[in-house]
């Protein structure tokens, strides 16, 4: 075992963030840490390399308790590199200077040796042409790739990634994930706090779901995502696979709505054809069935874990009749499209006395395919 964490606890201002974290991490494992915001995922990572000092518990790295008073903290941090959400590059130093700084100062490498290594690492992260650029001349994705190269320059045995893509524009997320994916092939041990669920599912050997100040559930990625055993894990995974809207006829902007659905569909790795069909079904449902029937309604779009199809559910109050049985020319074609593509379509009144229309659009997502 590389790292063993026993009963780790940490509070801030009397509020417990980590209550009793226990975990074992083997050499070469890739652990994704997922969970709702505020459940201590980043604090857990920061405790591992003592950026935060735990209140109690034990962190044993290669049979040494790092919380012992004689721990050489700089040496520990050399062993455990960290990549932060906000890159943390020195703004006045070039890319290559950012990468060579720590190896020269801490590992006492010569300038030539450190630079040679930096150039190799820049090639690894696809930025060999940016060696002399300043951080402000780079995109967010490029800055994060430099930050990863800087971490690798210290030859760490473990890399801790604290939400490495959270500060990035969505268009830049993939380039960083791709670098991390390539790193995974080298066999280095990685712990990654992430909200990129597809990435976590595809890349990780194990996933920790953190909640209530503990590792609430852990297991192999596929098992945890496909068959979560505990209620909060199930609820969390269901939520991230779901989009919720309150739509109002007067304020509705089809293209803004479509953009949100598109982002959701991309995250779900929905292919182009089913994505277009989803857009069509939603436009028909909203513009030609629901808005002529009710001024406002809630809409949930989710991916079923069981059937891998898209589930659409609209709820409204007021007119309790089934809009799919209305007779109007505008809705005729929309009803035909929905009937041809969605099955089943179920209308009813729920326990809150709301009208509820549920549609199932099959063939949305092929689970287990490779990530973005």
């Amino acid at each position: 075992m590389l790292i063993e964490i026993k009963h780790l606890a940490k509070s801030f201002g009397g509020i417990p963030v980590l209550k009793d974290v226990c975990a074992v991490i083997e050499k070469g494992e890739i652990i994704s840490i997922i969970g709702p915001s505020g459940t201590g995922k980043s604090t857990f990572l920061r405790c591992l390399n003592l950026l935060e000092y735990p209140d109690s518990g034990e962190i044993i790295v290669e049979n040494r308790n790092v919380l012992a008073s004689n721990t050489d903290i700089p040496k520990l941090r050399m062993k455990m590199g960290m990549v932060f959400q906000q890159f943390n590059l020195f703004p006045h130093l070039t890319t290559v200077e950012n990468i060579t700084l720590a190896p020269r100062r801490l590992l006492k490498k010569s300038a030539a040796e450190a630079k040679e290594q930096a150039m190799t690492l820049l090639e690894t992260v696809g930025l060999s042409g940016k060696a002399n650029s300043l951080p402000q001349e780079l995109s967010g994705g490029q800055q994060q790739r430099v930050a990863i190269a800087r971490t690798l320059a210290m030859n760490p045995e473990i890399i801790l990634f604290d939400e490495p893509t959270s500060a990035l524009d969505p268009t830049m997320v993939n380039e960083v994930l791709s670098v991390i994916r390539n790193l995974a092939k080298t066999g280095i041990t990685m712990l990654i706090v992430t909200h990129e669920m597809r990435f976590a599912r595809d890349l990780s050997t194990r996933v920790f779901y953190m909640d209530e100040g503990i590792v609430y559930e852990e297991g192999p990625a596929k098992e945890l995502f496909d068959h979560p055993s505990r209620p909060k894990t199930r609820a969390f995974l269901r939520r991230i696979d779901m989009l919720n809207f309150v739509l109002n006829r007067e304020e509705f902007d089809l293209y803004h709505f479509r953009g949100q659905v598109e982002t959701f569909a991309e995250k779900q790795l929905m292919e182009a054809k089913p994505r277009k069909m989803l857009h069509l079904v939603l436009e028909e449902l909203i513009e030609n069935i629901l808005f002529p029937h009710t001024e406002t309604f809630t809409l949930e779009i989710g991916i079923s874990e069981e059937t891998k199809s898209t589930e659409i559910c609209a709820k409204w109050s007021g007119d309790m009749t089934n809009p799919l049985q209305s007779i109007d020319e505008q809705g005729d074609m929309a009803r035909t499209i929905l009937a041809k593509r969605c099955s089943p379509i179920v209308f009813g009144v729920n326990e809150l006395s709301q009208a509820e229309l549920k549609l199932n659009l099959p063939g949305a997502v092929s689970r287990g395919q490779n990530g973005p």
């Binding site: 089809l254 293209y255 054809k273 074609m333």
Partner: protein
Amino acid sequence: MKITMNRTDKQLTASIEGSIDTVTSPDLEKQLTESWDDITDLILDFSKVDYISSAGLRFMITASRHMEDVDGQMTIRHVNDDVKEVFDMTGFDQLLNIE
């Protein structure tokens, strides 16, 4: 959506680019109805249309009926597979002249 129109005598070719949906079909309708006086051969080039919803289909029927009323014809050309699927599922492939 972008429309490029090319008129020669009584033939009008409208090359449409983008989506024909609830938002864009009123604009398509406006531009075509303003341009089709004396036209008896209307060609809609769909090679760059990537999406059509029932709002677009409704106008296709309107345009087709207008051309019938003036003893003319309307032809939709170069329809991609995704758009063709919408024509097929609504039965419009039988109502319209699609090449």
